[in-house]
Amino acid sequence: MLHKAQDEEDIDALRRGDRAAFTRLVQRYHRPMLVIARAIVGDVWAEEVLQEAWVSINRALPRFEGRSSLQTWLYTIVRNEARTRLSKESRYVSLESTIGSHEDTIESLNMQFKKDGHWQNSPANWHTDSPLQLLEQTQLRQCIDRTLSTLSADQCAVFTMRDLQQMDLQEICNILELSSSNVRVLLHRARLSLMQVIDRYQETGTC
């Protein structure tokens, strides 16, 4: 949210090609853009794709009309660069086809149910339902960071955009070129992974 205010403040300078404003833009958006690039091209090329994306962004900024938010515009350029790279490497794999290869979370959720679809046992009792109290637990935060880094790239991208950055679901679908139901599946799985970590933490005080 803070990003948006800074974007607006900088937009004129960015259109003029102001270098300091551009550096601030890089500072704000490089990491989330990397998350998106990874979701599309994988780890190996993500950094390179970003270098190319920044050059395209720098070139296109004077023509940025503000019809979408700057954030969406940036993410769309990253998406396009990532796709171009994929087709160059002629190993084009659409994101759609990779969904379903990360069944672990769903598996372990499934194990909590009997054959007839009822819970095996009651979900564990939590000491606290307060997100704020949970956020204060340093050890839990470390456990969560570790879990986020093990999410599949597409889950991580969707989680980052939806829950961390609270972007509109439809915008996320457009950027990643995924159907709404696929985005929601990825989102739900990411959330379940986090929930499992909190569950374990509440029960054992560790992860």
Partner: protein, 79 residues
């Protein structure tokens, strides 16, 4: 009738208001009758709010950002 497993699968969709009217109705009916699922959904909502309040990825350091900006401007000048 929705099973607990179905409900757990649909919980994010319900929270995101993406269920059809009928689906939402059977979802809420199940929730009304099932304490285990109510607990599950409460935990999921806590998890979501927790996630929303996590800090965004750390911004780059000044040096890192300047390096990338320098590379970008250099490349743009070449073209």
């Amino acid at each position: 009738m929705l099973s607990c497993r179905d409900l757990a699968e649909k919980a994010s969709d319900h929270i995101e208001k993406k269920l059809s009217f009928r689906e939402a109705l059977s979802y809420r009916l199940h929730l009304f009758l099932c304490g285990y699922c109510r607990k599950f959904v409460r935990h999921l909502k806590t998890t979501i709010e927790f996630g929303q309040r996590l800090p965004e990825p750390e911004p780059l350091s000044d040096e890192e950002a300047e390096k990338i900006a320098a590379q970008t401007f250099e490349k743009s000048d070449q073209e």
